[in-house]
Symmetry: C2
Subunit: 209 residues, 2 copies
DNA sequence: AGTTCACACTTGACAGCGTTAGGTGAAACC
DNA sequence: GGTTTCACCTAACGCTGTCAAGTGTGAACT
């Protein structure tokens, strides 16, 4: 049972690793990433803090691993929209799905798109996978719309137009997250604002004739 | 010379306080707020870290004071646009001025609008001052446009429309700040993207007839 | 079967952080 | 001249992420 023993050993290590990830995820979501300490994660799974360092180089690597899974989930959400023929209508649906993801996963979204991203790419090309690359989907949808002549002629740059659409939805969600407690601003429900924002942006971007 | 001595004493204390603010500002801008330590600020002005606590309750209070000045500066930038008659054109100019402020003061903008704002209001009503309340300017400009019948009828809510315009510009700047180093995205110059974004939003929001 | 080895995990510590209780010394007052 | 005030310092606390060195258990080899 050599291979069996070895396999069990590796499986146990993988289980511990997963336990760390699960505990970290839960604490990150409830307490926030900054406020979550390595000691708290370790305590939650009954290990000492240093044990974590046998599975992850440091706290950033642990965060990056969870973050990677989140980017993959966002890519899946985009992928599930499927192939809607009209590239403009597909654009609208992607925007709404993006907002849903952002508003359903506050902690994850915060870390993915509202913090400086130095450590976003632990192993380079994971994001080049076609079913996970949300920005790639966006870019392709925009490009198709441009090629189909659906957008105004001055909006010929796919990257710029993609960044405009992305920023529009991101702006509403992120501003809401950072300032929703601000008493001087009476926030409208973000999902409705996103819907209006997408309407406004698409109306202003598509060719009118 | 009783009052003179007293006055000098108070002036010296005020000078020390200002020195702390200046040192903190500079370190915040160069190293970032999180990375700037109370010890570093104190060292820069030749005091011990505890001296700072005689002038500010804690680090957050020090940050809040600087932040307050920044909000005031943003309000001034909006105020300087002046009274352009056409509320839509004024809206466009406000958006551009806002983007200029955001891109000229990265560190300040980051803290003002890209971090959780629990400590934004140290003494409540400072932001209600008419020449500092940038959101108030925005809201008023949007309201004037709605009342003049310049915007489409489905965009009748001033708060929602204001939040859309704000989010559009903020989205571009903030996304650029958090992801400009991302190699998978070829960022367009943010000022140009902001200009296009404003064009798109205004075209999509104004009544066409 | 007995020895060695690998290695997941622990112990105990380090440097640095924000912050604080208590002390010091010079200037301001009576 | 004695007392008080108060801006500032000394020394420390508890917290953080992290690491060098040790431990013990179970697989592996002779």
């Amino acid at each position: 049972m050599q291979t069996g023993s070895l396999a069990r050993r590796e499986r146990q290590k993988a289980e511990t690793r997963q336990a760390i990830l699960d505990a970290a995820r839960e604490l990150f979501v409830t307490d926030g990433i900054e406020a979550t300490t390595m000691r708290a994660i370790a305590l939650k799974i009954g290990y000492t803090p240093t044990a974590i360092y046998h599975h992850f180089r440091d706290k950033d690597a642990l965060i990056a691993e969870l973050c990677m899974a989140d980017f993959s989930a966002l890519g899946q959400a985009m992928y599930k929209i499927g192939r809607i023929e009209d590239p403009v209508e597909r654009m609208r649906r992607m925007g709404l799905a993006y907002a849903d993801f952002a508003l359903d996963n506050p902690s994850q979204y915060r870390f993915m798109f509202m913090t400086q991203q130095g450590h976003q790419h632990p192993d380079g090309d994971k994001y080049a996978l076609p079913d996970q690359d949300a920005y790639g989907f966006l870019l392709q949808t925009v490009t198709e719309g441009i090629q189909a002549g659906r957008y105004r002629p001055e909006l010929a740059d796919p990257e710029e137009l993609a960044q405009i659409f992305w920023s529009g939805v991101h702006g509403i969600v992120s501003l809401y997250y950072t300032h929703c407690d601000d008493p001087y601003i009476s926030w409208r429900p973000p999902r409705e604002t996103v819907r209006s924002m997408i309407d406004v942006m698409l109306r202003g971007a598509v060719r009118s004739d």
